[in-house]
Amino acid sequence: MSFRKTGAAILALVMAASLPVAAFAEEEKTIEPTEVTFWHGMSNTQEQVLTELTDRFNEENEYGITVKLVNQGNYGDLSTKLTASAVADELPDLAQAYNNWLTAYTDKIVPLDEFVENDFDDYEDLVEGYRAECEQLGFIGALPFNKSTYVYFYNKTMFDELGLEAPKTWEDMLAVGEKFMEEKEMPAFGVDDLAGFLEASLAQNECEYASDEGALFDNEAGLETLEYIMGLYNNGYARLIGEDDYFSSVISTQRIGGYIGSSTGVSYITADDFELGVAPLPTNKKAAANQAGTNIVMFAQDENQQAATWEYMKYLTSTEATTEWAMKTGYLPVRVSAFESDEYQSFMADDITATAAYSQVDAFFPAAMFEASNAVRTSVNTMFEEVVLDELEPEDALAEFVQIINEECDVE
C-alpha cells in the first residue's frame, strides 16, 4: 500500500518536473549527443584546416555532437562512393558534393528550407551566386562550402616587358594574344575547363547556354561568342592543354602568357622566376564568372541526426569559420560579411588572387543544371578540342556545338 503511494508520489514528481522541461524544449532545442559523419574530398592543407575547424566544433558545441571526418579520396572517388552508398541506402549524414552528382538521387537530399527559415544566421548574407547554386534543385539542397571562381592568371613580368596590361575585355584579350604571338611566338591564353569557358563566354555576351530544350545559343550572340573563341584559338593566341596536365604547370615553366583557371589553382603555380599577376575574367557586354567548388549536402535521416548535422553546417558557414577557412586554404568565403570583415580585407590586401576573385563576386554564376548537363559537359569538352584541332570557322564550330548539345538533350 505504502509502496504504491510512494510510486504515485514519484510519478507526480516526475510529471511535475517534466512539465517545465517540455515547455522549455519548445523554445530551446535539445539534441542528444551523437556522432555525425562527414564525407569529404579534401587533402593536404585543406584537410588539415578542415580537421582543425572540426576539432574545435567537437570541443565547443554544447550538445555533445562529434563530427567524424571521412576522407573519400578525390572528387571522382567521392562522387562514385556517394552514388554507391545511395544505392545501398547508406549515405553519410553530410557530404561535399556538386549538384550534378546528385541528379540520380535528389529524393535522398534533405531540403534545408525549414532549417534556414527557423535557425540560420542571415541567409541573404551568403554570396548570391552560391545561393542560386544551392537552390538549383528547386529547394535549398545545400549550403556553400569550399567555393572558388575562375580568374585569369598571367605572367606579369612578360606583360610588363611587352608593355601590356591585364586584359579587361575580349578585345584586350585578342590584342594581348596578337602581341604575344608577334613578340614571343607564344600563346597568351589557355583554359583548364573548356566547357566552363564556353558557358562563361556566352554569358559575357548576354547569351544563354543550354537547358532541357537543348542549346540556346544558335543565334547572333552565340555566333559572336564563337568568333571570339575561334579567333583566339585559330590564330594561335590560345592553346589546348595537350600533353600537360594543367595550365598551372605550363605557366610555371613560362610556356604561356596566361590562363583561365580556378582561383585555388594558385597553390600549384610556381612563380620563382617571374611575377605572377591575377585578373578577373575579361568581359564583353557584361561581366560573368564561373563559380566552382563543392557545397555541403545533408542526407541524415533521423531527426536528431539532422539537427546535429545542421549545427555543424551552421558552424562551417558562419562568418568566423568561413573567413578562417578561406584565409588558410585559398578558397573564397561564402558570406559577404566574411569578405567584408577587417580580417579578410587585410588578408586580401596582400593576396592578389583573392582580390581578383572578390572583384568579380557580383558576376558569379553557377553552371547550368539540367537533366543532361553532365553528358553535355563531357561532350562539349570533347567537341571543343575537336573544333580547335580542326581549326573550324566560327559558323561551323557553332553548328557542331549546337548539334552535340541537342543530341545529348534528345532535341531534334
Binding site: G76, S79, T80, T83, A86, V87, T103, A104, Y105, D107, K108, L240, G242, E243, D245, N374, A375, T378, S379, T382, M383, E385, E386, L389, D390, E407
Partner: protein, 289 residues
C-alpha cells in the same frame, strides 16, 4: 561414388560462389539493365523495357568512334605483338650471351604498373622533348605531335600497347620453344635446311598451341583496352576523344554520365563481339588439331 562427387563440389564451392557473385550475377544484371530505359541506379526505377538503349548508343557518334577505334586497335596490336614476340623469343632462345638478362628485360613491362609505363611513354611521345621525335629527327623527319593530334593518338596507343603486350607473349613463346625437341633441329642441321624453313616448319608448328593461345588471350584483352588509354592520355581518351575505346566509353557513361542502361548496352555489345570472335577462333583452331 555419390559421396565422392559431393566432396568435389565442396572443394569447388568457394571458387564457384565467388564466380557466381562477381562474374555471373553482374553479367546477368548488365544484360537486364541494358533493356531498361532511363534506369535509375538508386531507386531502381525505369521507364520501360525496350531496345531504346541499343538504339541510343548506335546513334551516338562517340560509341561508333569507340567501336571503330577498338576494332583498329585489335587488328594492329594482336598480330604485330605476336609476330614481334615470336622473333624476339626465337632470338632469346638461340643460346646468346646474357640470355637471362635479356629475358628479364623483355619481361619487365609485364610486371610494371601500366600507369608508370604510361608516364614514361608519355615522355617518349612528347612532341617537344620526346625520345621518339629526337630519333626521327636524325632521319630528317619533322617532329610529330604524337599525343596531341587526332591522327596520331590512336597509332601512339597502338605502338605503346604492342610494346606492352609483347612481354607476356614472349614469355609463353619461350616456354613453348623449350618444349620443342632438340633432335628436330639437329636433323634439320644435318640436312642443312635453310633457317627460314626451320622456323616455319619446326618452330612455328612446335609452338602452334602457344600462338593460338596468345592470339585468343591477346584479342580478348585488346577488346577490353582501358588502362593503356588512361595511362597514356592522363585519364582522358585522347585529344578530342580520338583514342576512345569501348571500355572507356562504358566507364564514362556509367560513372560520369549516370547512363546506366546505355553503359550496360555497350557492355553487352562488347561481350557479344568477344564471344562471337572467340567461338569462331575455337572452331577454326579446333579443326586444325
Amino acid at each position: 561414388m555419390e559421396k565422392k562427387s559431393m566432396k568435389g563440389y565442396l572443394y569447388l564451392a568457394p571458387a564457384l560462389i565467388i564466380i557466381l557473385i562477381f562474374t555471373i550475377y553482374p553479367l546477368i544484371r548488365a544484360f537486364m539493365l541494358s533493356f531498361m530505359e532511363d534506369y535509375n541506379l538508386v531507386n531502381g526505377s525505369y521507364k520501360g523495357i525496350n531496345l531504346e538503349n541499343y538504339i541510343d548508343i548506335f546513334q551516338d557518334r562517340h560509341f561508333i568512334k569507340a567501336l571503330t577505334n577498338t576494332g583498329i586497335y585489335v587488328v594492329f596490336v594482336v598480330p604485330c605483338s605476336i609476330a614481334l614476340s615470336l622473333i624476339i623469343a626465337v632470338l632469346l632462345n638461340s643460346h646468346i650471351r646474357f640470355q637471362g638478362v635479356f629475358q628479364t628485360i623483355f619481361f619487365l613491362p609485364y610486371v610494371t604498373s601500366t600507369i608508370a609505363i604510361g608516364i614514361v611513354w608519355g615522355w617518349i611521345f612528347n612532341s617537344d622533348y620526346g625520345l621518339l621525335n629526337q630519333l626521327l629527327s636524325w632521319f630528317g623527319i619533322k617532329s610529330i605531335p604524337w599525343l596531341t593530334s587526332k591522327q596520331y593518338a590512336l597509332p601512339s596507343l597502338i605502338i605503346f600497347s604492342i610494346w606492352k603486350s609483347m612481354a607476356f607473349d614472349i614469355l609463353i613463346f619461350l616456354a613453348g620453344l623449350q618444349t620443342i625437341s632438340e633432335d628436330l633441329y639437329n636433323a634439320a642441321r644435318v640436312d642443312s635446311t635453310p633457317r627460314w624453313r626451320v622456323f616455319w616448319r619446326i618452330t612455328v608448328p612446335g609452338i602452334g598451341p602457344m600462338i593460338s593461345y596468345a592470339f585468343v588471350m591477346g584479342m580478348i584483352n585488346a577488346f577490353k583496352v582501358y588502362n593503356e588509354v588512361y595511362a597514356l592520355f592522363r585519364g582522358k581518351n585522347g585529344p578530342a576523344g580520338s583514342a576512345n575505346t569501348v571500355v572507356f566509353y562504358i566507364y564514362d557513361k556509367f560513372y560520369n554520365q549516370s547512363k546506366y542502361g546505355e553503359a550496360s548496352a555497350a557492355a553487352v555489345i562488347l561481350f557479344l563481339i568477344v564471344l562471337g570472335l572467340t567461338i569462331i577462333q575455337r572452331t577454326l583452331t579446333g579443326k586444325k588439331e
